[in-house]
Symmetry: C2
Subunit: 177 residues, 2 copies
């Protein structure tokens, strides 16, 4: 096996290995969450967090849809490929959010997904970093977003957690330079 | 509220809104998963998937550690900031994987986290896109990685799902150009 040394300023810890040549070109592309109601989720991820819907795959026979979103920069929005099918573009990106909607859950008042932060635990959260935490908090309040943890709660004043429409935790941290 | 039109080639769907100016500069930074044994997880994410450990935050009083990893390109590895504290760098990246280790779980034979794909469902998977799916599958086999779905299983021949040491599903798709 051919390996590539980890960068000098990368950290080591028990278990950390050199980089296998076989993994070159791998891209950590997306995270998938199941959602109850796509209208509510799309309103939140586009209208509050400012994401862009890049791909919508519909599987009516199997009764589910997939939505692929990204938080694009102004430059990326200007340079988005001029094609209606952005599947290839999406495959090359990082930090895509895939939302899976199984038809009908939005009409079932008793239905909800599990956010991973109570038993049985597992998945914890997704996180957005923002230029100004206080301004972001004000923006979330303006939109009636529910907080799991406001910056002033607890000891970590530089972190907030909001909840998406399914109750998944979305950590909010400030970008550092 | 000032909004920015979604790009022309972006998709629309019920719920999709224009981009609020207040979200400009937001970055979808990371996804957090809890892990039972950091040695096994770091072996997998660095030694099989080729990620780099960029930040290791230790909270011995609260008995947990956080590990932040990224799948870097050769260019990014060469240009990593020359500082031991990459916290600021990490805050600006996309597709960071945060692994949370609560001390002691690695020694509890009966302990396991929930991967979100059986009841109660919620989180589904993370996904890596790879330059060559068949070569990636051969690499995973060489490392004894467990498959949830091999490419030849089911109708979707261009997708595989492997399992990380906690049983979280990792989708593998091929990069498209």
């Amino acid at each position: 096996m051919t390996t590539i040394a980890q960068p000098k300023t990368a950290l080591s810890a028990a278990g950390v290995k050199d980089i296998p040549a076989q993994s070159e070109g791998f891209v950590f592309n997306h995270t998938m969450l199941r959602i109850k109601d796509p209208v509510k989720s799309l309103e939140f991820y586009t209208g509050v967090l400012g994401m862009t819907l890049l791909r919508h795959s519909q599987f009516p026979d199997a009764k589910f849809d997939l939505y692929f979103l990204a938080k694009l920069t102004e430059e990326e929005r200007a340079n988005l490929p001029q094609t209606a099918d952005l599947t290839a573009y999406v495959s090359r990106q990082r930090s895509i959010l895939e939302l899976t909607h199984n038809y009908g859950t939005e009409n079932d008042a008793d239905f909800s997904y599990h956010n991973g932060n109570s038993d049985p635990r597992g998945f914890g959260h997704i996180c957005f970093s923002v230029p100004d935490l206080a301004k972001a908090v004000a923006w979330f309040d303006e939109n009636g977003v529910e907080f799991q943890k406001r910056p002033e709660d607890g000891s970590m004043k530089d972190i907030a957690f909001i909840k998406d429409p399914d109750g998944y935790w979305v950590e909010i941290i400030e970008l550092k330079y």
